[in-house]
Symmetry: C2
Subunit: 234 residues, 2 copies
């Protein structure tokens, strides 16, 4: 948060920006922690060791991201558990409403969730100060572990012709539930929404909700491209 003082931003706006940043890292931290746990839970029902291993490895990477976000919160003088608190119910609801019926759905959920989380984080990074931008790049730069999962999914689809249609529907449901929970969070957390929208204007004073809508469109477009690469209709 250093540096902003020099640009003539008043105390209220600076505090709002700081609140938004704590919200952002709290959201990202709990998103990664819960993704790590749910992904492992989905993997434990798989009968194939390769599937278990691929999902466990991805869960391991997500926990590593959680640790980085929690460390950044502590650096900024905030308790990670308190910062995550406001996002537990929306994220848990998302997972409860999208519990995979089998490990193939679990693999698709891992890919879709990780992809949207990355795109969202990249979108927001542009609105942060240089120190946080560098930090976010370090997190996102983490080794890509998707390849094993992509090939497990495409193998399954190749071997079971009706599966593609079911997984395409599943992908749409995942995004629908994610957008629903994201809108709920945006409505509740002004400072975070303001940060997402580029930090123009203090919270509550006429935020450009159309811009938020455009961001959702960009995220769902990127999702559609990922589904196509998996051989699924988006």
């Amino acid at each position: 948060m250093t540096g902003e003082q020099d640009h003539g931003i008043d105390d209220d706006q600076r505090d709002a920006g700081a609140d938004g940043l704590v919200d952002l890292y709290g959201l990202l931290a709990y998103g990664e922690l819960s993704a790590s746990l749910r992904m492992s839970a989905d993997a434990s029902s798989a009968d194939d060791i390769g599937v278990q291993e691929a999902l466990a490895r991805m869960a391991h990477t997500e926990f590593g991201h959680y640790e980085l976000f929690a460390a950044r919160l502590r650096e900024l003088g905030h308790d990670p558990v308190s910062a995550m608190g406001p996002f537990v119910s929306a994220i848990s609801l998302f997972h409860d409403r999208t519990t995979p019926r089998d490990w193939t759905e679990g693999l698709v959920k891992a890919l879709v969730g990780d992809g949207i989380a990355r795109d969202f984080t990249r979108e927001i990074a542009a609105n942060l100060g240089p120190e946080d931008q560098t930090f976010i790049e370090t997190v996102l730069d983490d080794s890509r572990t998707d390849d094993a999962i992509v090939s497990l999914v495409t193998q399954q689809i190749a071997g079971e012709p009706t599966l593609g249609g079911r997984l395409a529907l599943w992908g749409r449901r995942l995004v629908g539930e994610a957008v629903a929970q994201a809108q709920f969070v945006a409505a509740e957390r002004d400072a975070l929404t303001n940060l997402i929208l580029g930090g123009q204007g203090a919270p509550g004073d006429g935020m450009d909700l159309a811009e938020l809508g455009r961001m959702f469109v960009r995220l769902t477009d990127a999702h559609a491209q990922r589904m196509t690469r998996l051989g699924l209709a988006a």
Copy 2:
């Protein structure tokens, strides 16, 4: 396996020793991988972020151990998935029969399972060559992450007087199921059992099953001491 040749051990015995070692690492690798997944699955039902975090951190450590065992198997020229295969059903049965009813049982299971696995690994290390002994020490030397979990369990017991009795029973059930599955594995895998018993004698030729029994007694004694430290009757 280098070095054994110089001690006049014949080819059959050396092969049996190598088979035992592959079995050992396959067992330990799948034990860690499945513990990591089941622990996370148990954590995902906890309503407390601190509990989720503590179990997720332990799961993360176990996955790290899995990766070390898998890497050692590859170093020895074996495919980790093939080496783990013979142990999937016994380990999965253990977990299916000991699915925690709540996260407190999940925490106790994590402590008990991790403790027994460490004691077992330490027992066996003495029977291995120097290179594998050093490797095992590296794995076991990993940071101790139990403290957070121990304090979560003792806090719960302090706040709920009837809980101690239930968790004491639960601890006994965990050990009973573990011993049952271990006996099943020992009966099926001669080369592994021979390695566990100190490598004296070729497989099948009058292994000292009483020694195996004594090892189980040592492991359950150590377990009883851990339960006592938790304030639970063993």
